[in-house]
Each structure stands twice: as structure tokens, then as C-alpha cells.
């Protein structure tokens, strides 16, 4: 018995040795030791959570900012816009992120005043799967609304044909794919549909999780992308980056000026620029269906949510510095990842908001 016990101990030690070696190799990668989320001589830890849409861009920001400020460790986890709002209300994170701006009663539910800082712009595009059609399809707003309402059922419907002269549309049924999970993307899309279709506004409304009249629900942008890509004769809506990365076709949509616009970074920034003048004081707004000749109709801001009065001055300063860097230097990284940078007028408004963040009464940015 003793010898088998010893043998077992030996094997255990031998097994643990590679694990320890692995751990040693990995620890060489650490930026620094930082117990607790407090401040102090060592590193500072900040946590953010929220929208999945800007996650790739924020990860780039955190990495680049981390190179410049190795003592500030910031983590961001995408748990959805609603999750971001809930966590910042609960105080478990230092900043939240949301595509759709918070509603008034959500703002009331927070223990302090929350500021919305716009960071980048995104676009919701209509994508589809039609074999053998090379050029992008054109859609008028009312046609889109009626497809998603289930009133237009076939691809060769005369109203679709009217916008797409010369295209050989198949005689098949349209399969609509929408989002099954509550999402900022859906909120933006349904907000647009409510603006351009009175019937949609009455029957369905604008919401993160509306009751869809027809179609299948895919989970997440990637679920919808996957379902559209794998099934013929489908139509769906996704964030621009997903359609571009998966090489799915992107439809041209007629904007309020009557032009058919392809979703592009420039068109999205144009949408923000043309509505910048009417930005309200708290920067919460919807920019779907804006005026502007070259504006893409289904664009939206995404926001970072921070408390106006930061309890911890050191963390607050680090946060404010990061946000300032983000809306200036961070915007440079947006285009490569298919996000549209903020127009200059909006950057000025965001600067003012960041400058107003205080701790203990004193503004954190001098």
C-alpha cells in the first residue's frame, strides 16, 4: 500500500510540474500586479460592460491605450446594451456602453446622474441571400417595412421589381430573418421603420425586443448572418461590419432625400453630421432617416455611460483621460474596423460632456 501511495504522489507532482512551468511562462506576460480594484502605487483597474456592437473597436482602444498607459488596466466585456445599463446602475462596473440611449425611467433608476458620451457610429444594413444576382438590390423604405410586416411575400413582387429594373428576381417566398435577442441593432432598425411606416409604428413599434409579425429569429448579429448566409431567399438586418466581413450583399436604401445610398462609413458619418445641429443637450438622440443628400438612413450612435460625479478621484481621472483619448486618438482606428468616426461637431459636444465630469465637486479635467 505504501509504495502505491508514493507512486501516486510522484505522479501528481510530475503532472503539476508542467502546469507550474506553464504558469511561470504566462506570468511573464502580465502587465503588473494589482489586487483589488482600488488605486494606489501599483496598477489601476477599470471595468466596463455593455454593447456588443462596439466591442471590437473598444478592445482595440483598450489595447492601444494600454500601450501608452501600462499602469491602467481596463477591461471591457460585451454583455449587451441592457446588461451595460443594468451594471452601471448597480455600480458593478466603472462605465457602461449602450447602442440605444437610456430611457428617462432608466436614468431615474441610477444612483447618480449618468452622462451619455457618443463614441462611434454604426449602420444597420439590409442583407439578403439570392442566388445568381450580382448587383446590389435597391429598396424603398415602404417596401422594407412591408416585407418585414409580412405583406410582401415574394421576391418578384411588383414593388420590389419597380425599384430594381432589369434584375431577374426569382419567384420564391421571402424568408425574413430578425433578431431573437433584445438588441440595440433591433432598436435602431425598428426606430427607422416606425419613422417611415405608420402601419409599422402602430402594429409593432420601436423596441429592443418587438413582436415580429413574421420570420425566424436568429441569436445575435452572427446568428442572423449565419442564417441568411446558409438559407436561400432570406432577407435580414445586421450591423455593417458583419455583412462586409461575411461577404454578404448589402442593399441600397432610398433615403429621405430620394437617393439610393449604399451603407458606407462616409454615408454614416454624413448622417451624423447632418443631424449634429439638432443634438439635444444630453446627446441622447436617434439619427435614423435624417435629412441630407448622402446620409445613410439607418445609422446610430453608440454611447459610453459614465457617472457625472465620480466617487473615486483617481479612477475618475483615469476614466476621463481614457475617454478623452478615445474620442480623439481612438477615432483613428474606427475606419479599419468598419466603424464610422464621429463628425467634428459631435466630438466638440462630447468634449464638453467629458469636461463636466467631476469628483467631489472638482472637475477632473483641468
Amino acid at each position: 500500500m505504501a509504495s502505491s501511495k508514493n507512486r501516486r504522489r510522484m505522479t501528481l507532482v510530475l503532472l503539476c510540474a508542467p502546469l507550474l512551468a506553464f504558469a511561470a511562462a504566462c506570468s511573464g506576460q502580465r502587465g503588473g500586479v494589482g489586487p483589488g480594484t482600488g488605486s494606489g502605487g501599483g496598477t489601476l483597474n477599470l471595468l466596463g460592460a455593455g454593447a456588443t456592437f462596439p466591442n471590437p473597436l473598444y478592445q482595440k482602444w483598450l489595447s492601444e491605450y494600454g500601450k501608452l498607459n501600462p499602469n491602467t488596466r481596463i477591461d471591457y466585456q460585451s454583455i449587451g446594451s441592457g446588461g451595460g445599463i443594468k451594471q452601471i446602475q448597480a455600480g458593478t462596473v466603472d462605465f457602461g456602453a449602450s447602442d440605444a440611449p437610456m430611457k428617462n425611467d432608466e436614468l431615474k433608476g441610477a444612483p447618480g446622474e449618468l452622462l451619455h458620451i457618443p463614441t462611434v457610429l454604426g449602420a444597420v444594413v439590409i442583407t439578403y441571400n439570392l442566388q445568381g444576382i450580382a448587383q446590389p438590390l435597391k429598396f424603398s423604405p415602404d417596401v422594407i417595412a412591408d416585407i418585414f410586416l409580412g405583406k410582401i411575400k415574394k421576391w418578384d413582387d411588383p414593388r420590389i421589381r419597380a425599384d430594381n429594373a432589369g434584375v431577374n428576381l426569382p419567384v420564391t417566398d421571402i424568408t425574413v430573418v430578425h433578431r431573437s435577442d433584445g438588441s440595440g441593432t433591433t432598436a435602431v432598425f425598428t426606430d427607422y421603420l416606425s419613422k417611415i411606416s405608420a402601419e409599422w409604428k402602430e402594429k409593432v413599434g420601436a423596441d429592443k425586443s418587438p413582436q415580429w409579425p413574421t420570420g425566424q429569429g436568429g441569436k445575435g448579429n452572427e446568428g442572423v448572418t449565419g442564417m441568411v448566409k446558409q438559407q436561400p431567399d432570406t432577407i435580414g438586418y445586421v450591423e455593417l461590419a458583419y455583412a462586409m466581413q461575411s461577404k454578404l450583399p448589402v442593399a441600397q436604401i432610398k433615403n429621405s432625400a430620394g437617393n439610393f445610398i449604399t451603407a458606407s462609413i462616409e454615408a454614416v458619418t454624413a448622417a451624423a453630421a447632418s443631424s449634429a445641429a439638432s443634438l439635444p443637450e444630453d446627446l441622447r438622440t436617434s439619427i435614423t432617416n435624417p435629412a441630407g443628400a448622402n446620409a445613410y438612413p439607418i445609422s446610430s450612435y453608440t454611447y459610453i455611460l459614465v457617472y457625472k460625479d465620480q466617487k473615486d478621484a483617481t479612477k475618475g481621472k483615469a476614466l476621463v483621460d481614457f475617454l478623452w483619448w478615445g474620442i480623439h486618438d481612438g477615432e483613428k482606428f474606427a475606419k479599419d474596423l468598419q466603424y464610422a468616426p464621429l463628425p467634428d461637431e459631435v466630438v466638440k459636444r462630447a468634449e464638453a460632456k467629458i469636461n463636466s465630469i467631476t469628483s467631489g465637486g472638482k472637475p477632473l479635467r483641468q
Binding site: T11, C26, Q29, T37, Q59, D75, Q77, E222, A241
Partner: protein, 280 residues
């Protein structure tokens, strides 16, 4: 005894059919596994290299790796097992040894029901109980959430496996004058050990693939973390983050991370089986 020729032929034919059917089932199950594993490998093998296994995550286009996710998952599994295994095995022993009566039936029923709770519910429960009051996402809460998912599985399989130990073993030990607790711990448990290990392995495999509970408790991180009161990365959350993104490079990393996760589980499985193999 009925030995007429036609009846014998019927029995023999039935035997051949059923033997072929069971072999076909096994073949079918293995082919599905090969299909899934093959698909994962096809999508992910290109992304596996040494840097991938050691580095922390990086933005799109810069490579990066899952080193901190691997250590995170290992730490979380360790905590979950440290809490969940003793708890589950103890409850299983209680149900098996003292399992008559209303209280035991209730516990059994409750354990069965718990196996059906969606993991997100467990995650929200631990979030409300631990993360909210502490205002802190932590490794400990993540391990606890995983332990809660593990416990019902380990309990029920432990109970079933203990029931399967032959009475003769118990009677022999009792006849030698051993008190009941000695009989259970020293004779019955070792005899049931490989079955209990199966339950443990199933539980570990199950929780190692869970994402939702970790999102609200352990949260996620870009850094290595060794402290129990801090957020920590994990393979499943990292896979989730990469898989829901638009970028092919991240998708490949998600599939590669899945391969790493499965290798990890395979290694744990083999190790535990080695230590609990029957020596008689």
C-alpha cells in the same frame, strides 16, 4: 425447453439484428463526433500555435492568444470542483445510505429538478446573491455558479453508482465489525469510485462548456488573474466573444480555443480515470 428449429432461427436472427444495430449505433455516434470535431478542427487548426496558447487576447488583426483564458478556466474548474465535488458526493452518499423517507425523496426530487435549470438562471442567482452586494465581479462567484450546476449531476450519479455496489461487499465489511461509516468510506466508495468518477467527469465537462453563468459572475478579462476577488477570463467566454464577432480571424480563434478546451477536458478525464481505476 423450446428447441424447435424455427424458433431457434428466430432467436439467432434477432440476435444478429440487435448486435448489428448496437454496433450501428456506436458507429453512428462516433461519426457524429468525428463530424463535429472535424468541423471544429477544420475551422480552427490554422490558428493554433505556441503564441496562441500563451499570449493574452489582442484586437483584431494583431493575433493574440488565450493563455489567460486557459489559466482562468483551470482556476474556475478547480474552485468549482473543490466546492461542488465534496458537496455532491456527500449528498449522494446521504441519499444512497440513508435514503428512505420523505426528506430524502424531497432532496432527490430537488436534485433531479436542478439538473434542468438553465445555466443562466443559476448565473443570475449567484449574481444577485454575491456579485451585487459586493459590487464586484469575482472568480469566486464564477466558481460558485459552476459548482451549483455541478452538484445535482454529481449527487444523482453518486447515488446511482453507490446503489450498484453489491450487498455482499457491505455485508462482508459489516460482518468484520466495521462501523457503518467505515464501511461506506472504506469499502463502498472505493468500489463505486469509477462510477462516481464518471459522474464527476460529466459534471466537469458540462460546466466547462458553460458561458452564460460566467458572464454575470466571473465577467471576463484581458489579463492574467490569480486573485479570487477579481474578474477572470475563461475559455468559454472568450469563445463566445470571438464567435459573435464579425471577423474571420476571431472566428478561427474561437474554433481553435474550442479544440484547446476539449483537449483540456480530455486530459482531465484521462487523469481522473487513471487515479480511480479499479485495482482488483
Amino acid at each position: 425447453m423450446n428447441t424447435s428449429a424455427p424458433r431457434k432461427n428466430l432467436r439467432l436472427t434477432t440476435n444478429t439484428i440487435m448486435t448489428t444495430l448496437t454496433a450501428a449505433c456506436a458507429f453512428f455516434a462516433v461519426s457524429i463526433l468525428v463530424l463535429i470535431l472535424g468541423y471544429i478542427a477544420w475551422r480552427g487548426i490554422a490558428a493554433i500555435n505556441l503564441r496562441f496558447l500563451i499570449d493574452t487576447p489582442k484586437p483584431v488583426g494583431e493575433g493574440g492568444g488565450i493563455g489567460n483564458a486557459i489559466t482562468g478556466t483551470l482556476l474556475l474548474l478547480l474552485i468549482a470542483s473543490a466546492i461542488g465535488m465534496p458537496f455532491g458526493i456527500a449528498t449522494g452518499i446521504y441519499l444512497a445510505e440513508f435514503g428512505e423517507g420523505g426528506f430524502a425523496s424531497l432532496v432527490r426530487f430537488v436534485a433531479d429538478t436542478m439538473t434542468g435549470v438553465p445555466s443562466i438562471v443559476v448565473g443570475v442567482f449567484v449574481y444577485t446573491l454575491i456579485v451585487l452586494p459586493m459590487k464586484q465581479f469575482s472568480t469566486l462567484s464564477g466558481g460558485l455558479a459552476l459548482a451549483l450546476i455541478m452538484i445535482p449531476i454529481v449527487t444523482r450519479t453518486t447515488e446511482e453508482m453507490i446503489h450498484l455496489v453489491p450487498t455482499s461487499l457491505r455485508e462482508g465489511a459489516l460482518a468484520l465489525g466495521a462501523p457503518q461509516w467505515r464501511v461506506t468510506m472504506g469499502v463502498v466508495l472505493p468500489a463505486a469510485s469509477s462510477g462516481i468518477a464518471t459522474g464527476a467527469m460529466l459534471a466537469i465537462a458540462r460546466v466547462s462548456g458553460e458561458t452564460a453563468p460566467l458572464l454575470f459572475t466571473a465577467f471576463g478579462s484581458r489579463f492574467f488573474n490569480w486573485y479570487l476577488d477579481q474578474p477572470i477570463a475563461s475559455l468559454t467566454v472568450q469563445i463566445y466573444n470571438y464567435a459573435i464577432s464579425p471577423y474571420d480571424e476571431w472566428h478561427a480563434q474561437a474554433w481553435a480555443a474550442t479544440l484547446v478546451l476539449m483537449t483540456l477536458i480530455l486530459v482531465i478525464n484521462i487523469t481522473v480515470r487513471f487515479f480511480t481505476r479499479r485495482k482488483f
